[in-house]
Amino acid sequence: MRATLIGIRRFSGLSDPAPSLSIRDAAFSWEGGFGIEIADFDLKARERVLLLGPSGGGKSTFLNLVAGITTPSRGRIDVLGTDIARLRGARVDRFRVDSFGIIFQMFNLMPWLSALDNVLVPLRFSRLRRRRAGDARAEASRLLGALGIDAALFNQRAGTLSVGQQQRVAAARALIGGPGIILADEPTSALDRANARAFLDLLLAEQETAQAALLMVSHDETLADAFDRVVRLDDIARVSGGVAA
């Protein structure tokens, strides 16, 4: 079903547009000697990919590389047509917020800000997303509503919301201003099964509306059916424990 959706190309006239994310032979190693090598990985526009891997299996390093928080020692990481490994300093931070909506495992929000203000944070740093969002508060309210947050909670401090509500606020923040790619790092692991499913459904629906690609990292294989593609980290990356790569 998703395959047909992906078939509808909306950007330019190309039948096969550039992938949202493309990694070619990238490598990175921490000073301690822990390293990762990624041979090839593509995330197509609007594609939903579930990246499966055990905890501590290099998922964080993988996401850090993708988001440009760490710089690879070699290779290319193209994000929406830009080699993020070549960006330096503040530009990579700007590029990150322009391109990615990021959802963490937990503690996504600044607990002293209201739900609405939390959603608005990326717009503070991304002019691109600010422009796309239009009326920022209206758009934030719309997203929160669509993700099932009661309007009465919009102006409540995020710290007073339940974990499930907090994750949905985080999803709204990731989606606002239409970034090309949603990165989600085990966003459901802090939720119980029913909540996890409900959260995922809402996230996927909004991701579809926003026409963003979704790369979600998880160790939970039961979520696989909601994705276009399931990739095991072991298959695309080699993690070395002792020797620097």
Binding site: I69, T70, I102, M110
Partner: protein, 419 residues
Amino acid sequence: MSLLRLALLSLWNRRLTAILTILGIALSVTLFLSVEKLRTGARESFANTISGTDLIVGARAGDVQLLLYSVFRIGDATNNITWESYQDIAGRSEVDWIVPISLGDSHRGYRVVGTTAGFFDHYRYRRDTGLRFGAGTTLDDLFDTVIGADVAMALDYQVGDRIVVSHGTGRGGGAGHDDKPFRVTGILDRTGTPVDRAVYVSLEAIEAIHVDWQGGGRVEGLKIPVERVRNMDLTPGTVTAALVGLKSRITTFRFQRFVNEYDEEPLTAILPGVALSNLWSLVGVAERALSAVSLMVVVTALLGLVTTLLASLEERRREMAILRANGASPRTISVLLTAESGLIALAGALLGLVFLYVLLFALQPLLDARFGLYLKVDAPNLRDCTILGIVVLAGMAAGFIPAWRAYRRSLADGMSIRS
């Protein structure tokens, strides 16, 4: 949402520690500024110990020494001025007024000053403040005495009390002139100058109590009763020093030269202001030490600020990671942290200023009445503002250390946030 609002909201979230830090800085700023105030106040009070007097004349001596014994009543004169020289100087046309000072006796540890009623008219302190009688009146009868405020308070004297003067200046030492008691006729208001710590009698009285004395002791068997003394010639042979007011300030240096080159005996004339600042430069070491101590207090408070920021950093890792994930550059995070410490320091500095003025308003009358220390309540001067500015800048600089750590840590933490 502006970065400032983000910083403020984040700070508000940690308001308890923030308020404590602000209080710490405020208190140390208050301490520093009030020490500065006291310091300048003390210096000014000191510099204004004597004013309106153009020259102080005494036997040949160093100017600080002459100032010490004539004004501060510390130490003794090596020599006196003969009455003839005194009269000679008093008769000069440049002289507007002259007040003699005769020292050598004491009353229960307080110096007795033989002088004239002119002393109470001409002595000025704190720019142009004259002496005032808190109770009673000036010297009139031969055995009248006027006492300073400290003497009256310490010894609990009232107008009308009878006191006895001792020979010599040792505390309680020396033989007593107990056959010729004095009556307290006036008590001076507090001035915060050595005037408060002296007992004033007329020049003639000094002669009178010594008529039956010779050298350092009473002449054996000679006891001249008060009634007979009153009829004797009580013109003094010498005086210790003299305060001189000139008709015109322009003649000051010429007149000083005249005294210094006086033929009949070696004399010294000093300008009180110059001698006072010479003396202050000797005392200035203590003043600088006081400054240094209060400066250290400010430094300690700033170190406390760094400590607080560093400690709060741990609980703020989450905040930093969220901000980085949402496009905040390390520089933005540094700006946030330095802005925060800057805000804390600014709030502390301003609050410290408020505390200072509250203290000043509350304590100024008390300090003036109890210690004769007059502190002006005026707008912060350039020096105060500089100090406040330095505190704020140092506060911001203090934020750099946590900012740098936050930057390093946000790199290491990356996308994975452990709470």
